[in-house]
């Protein structure tokens, strides 16, 4: 079911919060989106904040903690990080923050590449259901959803949010 969430408004709010971090910070930081929805959001934010460093993309399929249960996703694309991770300030971007496991996997993967100076988390949607001690620094939308409701970002054009009830 598609809700009429105002995504451009949410993105603007996020870009504004990023701007508050200061020009120096933004000049030296690198943005990384998490496939697939996080990349779409990051592409928008990257253009809006005019970051200097090119956008990085992370596929966390190989770092998931539920691999032996749900198995392989055959459509994995390799991660692209067109900058050195060592001593880098990183803005990690994802579409939905729920349990926190995706962010945990993304951080593990980043640390395999090097030692970042800091990681800041920006998400379009923050919702209830955390299972790990992970929090977002920048949030576009706070949503309260029932346990059996699942939210999904559709894109890359005409970004929209869809809520489904899991059976």
């Amino acid at each position: 079911m598609n809700q009429a969430y105002d995504i451009p408004l949410a993105l603007n709010k996020m870009a504004g919060q990023l701007a508050e971090l200061g020009e120096d910070y933004l000049k030296n930081s690198a943005m990384v989106g998490i496939h697939t929805g996080g990349v779409w959001i990051a592409q928008q934010l990257h253009a809006m904040t005019k970051l200097e460093k090119p956008l990085g993309e992370l596929d966390i399929s190989f770092y998931r903690d539920d691999f032996t249960r749900i198995g392989m996703n055959p459509q994995v694309k390799p991660s692209q990080l067109p900058f050195s991770v060592d001593d880098q300030h990183i803005i990690l971007v994802d579409d939905v923050l729920q349990t926190g496991r995706t962010i945990r996997a993304a951080m593990n993967e980043l640390f395999d590449y090097g030692r970042p100076a800091s990681i800041l988390l920006a998400v379009l949607v923050e919702r209830s259901g955390r299972e790990l001690p992970i929090d977002a620094d920048i949030v576009g939308l706070n949503l309260t959803l029932a346990d059996d409701e699942h939210i999904k970002l559709n894109g890359p054009d005409n970004l929209s949010l869809e809520i489904n009830r899991t059976a």
């Binding site: 399929s61 190989f62 770092y63 998931r64 903690d65 539920d66 691999f67 032996t68 249960r69 749900i70 198995g71 392989m72 996703n73 055959p74 459509q75 994995v76 694309k77 390799p78 991660s79 939905v96 729920q98 349990t99 496991r101 995706t102 593990n108 395999d112 590449y113 699942h150």
Partner: protein, 325 residues
């Protein structure tokens, strides 16, 4: 039709990878797609992913093979698995432990996967029948029967070179089909992927009885066999063949069946030349062809790692569950 078989679990996922026979086209495509993602990993600066961390993979080789064992070892390590290499001389097994006892002893050390190679056909099936439910078996070659990972890396290579539509391809396999587990697996895979035409070329002493029943056209003349071929796969000619009254010698074999630039021109202009290796220069293939622009022999080796990573990770999946966000 989804039902459990020795190699496939009830939910359709791979459990053992023993032979192409017994699998379905969808599963083969899934292996190829999964291999694509791992191919990217090997090209990254970070060549390791933690997918199989904490898992123990045993390379149980009863037949010596540095090449194959090394690629399996590398593939396992790139998945962050722990690897154990066990080389057992076939003769020492017959003097001492039975195959089953060797297996039980290793299983008692809580391993997760066996990669097996043996000189007797049917060995990996036998091992798969006798392992614990949570253990997977990958066949790295059993006798003349099957070498499914080689076939898959060959299919992967063909797909990369020629695209996903095998239906428009003519693929010719040249050499000792009789004694080749690689050829049998390749023929099975090509047919499962609906290849347009599969041909074999060999003298009669190198063709097994009823080979047509596997779904190939038989040629005894190289030029007939490779005419307008899109892919030519050459098999290694082993020295034993000359000793066993199967062939008169390398010289006549090369003259009749060796691939040279000259007879290569009969195939399609963009023909792809493949060989599972190691190559016998000047016997089944000329150096000029092996090192020439049509040859993808080295790419096959690279692709072998990604394909083996794919097969190992697919076989390690155990149950279905909810996806976590």
């Amino acid at each position: 039709m989804r039902k459990a078989s020795l190699q496939i679990r009830k939910d359709g996922r791979l459990r053992h990878f023993l032979s192409i026979e017994g699998l379905n086209a969808a599963l083969l495509q899934e292996i190829l797609d999964t291999a694509e993602s791992f191919a990217g990993v090997s090209a990254q600066s970070i060549k390791k992913v933690p997918l199989l961390r904490g898992k123990t993979i045993v390379n149980l080789f009863f037949e010596p093979s540095t090449r194959t064992r090394t690629t399996f070892e590398l593939a396992a390590k790139r998945l962050s698995a722990d690897v154990l290499n066990i080389n057992i001389n076939a003769s020492s097994t017959s003097k001492g432990e039975t195959l089953l006892d060797t297996l039980r002893n290793l299983e008692a050390m809580h391993v997760d996967m066996f990669v097996t190679r043996h000189s007797l056909s049917g060995t990996s099936h036998f091992i798969a029948h006798h392992v614990e439910p949570h253990v997977s078996v990958i066949n790295a070659g059993d006798g003349w029967h099957s070498h499914p990972t080689q076939a898959m890396l060959d299919m992967f290579t063909i797909r990369r070179e020629k695209g996903a539509d095998f239906g428009r391809l003519t693929v010719t396999i040249v050499g000792d089909i009789s004694h080749s587990r690689v050829a049998r697996s390749q023929i099975n895979a090509l047919n499962l992927l609906n290849t347009g035409e599969v041909r074999v070329v060999a003298p009669r002493t190198l063709l097994p009885a009823g080979i047509e029943s596997l779904g190939v056209h038989v040629h005894h003349n190289l030029r007939d066999g490779i005419k307008d071929a899109d892919v030519i796969i050459l098999l290694r000619l082993q020295n034993e063949r000359m000793l066993g009254a199967t062939l008169p010698g390398k010289h006549e074999y090369y003259r009749l069946f060796g691939l040279t630039n000259d007879n290569l021109s009969i195939a399609k202009p963009d023909v792809t030349v493949m060989h599972p290796g190691p190559i016998n220069r000047g016997v089944e293939i000329d150096s000029q062809v092996a090192d020439g622009p049509h040859s993808v022999i080295l790419q096959q080796v690279t692709n072998g790692i990604a394909v083996r990573m794919a097969v190992m990770s697919m076989a390690m999946q155990h149950n279905t569950g909810e996806e976590d966000v």
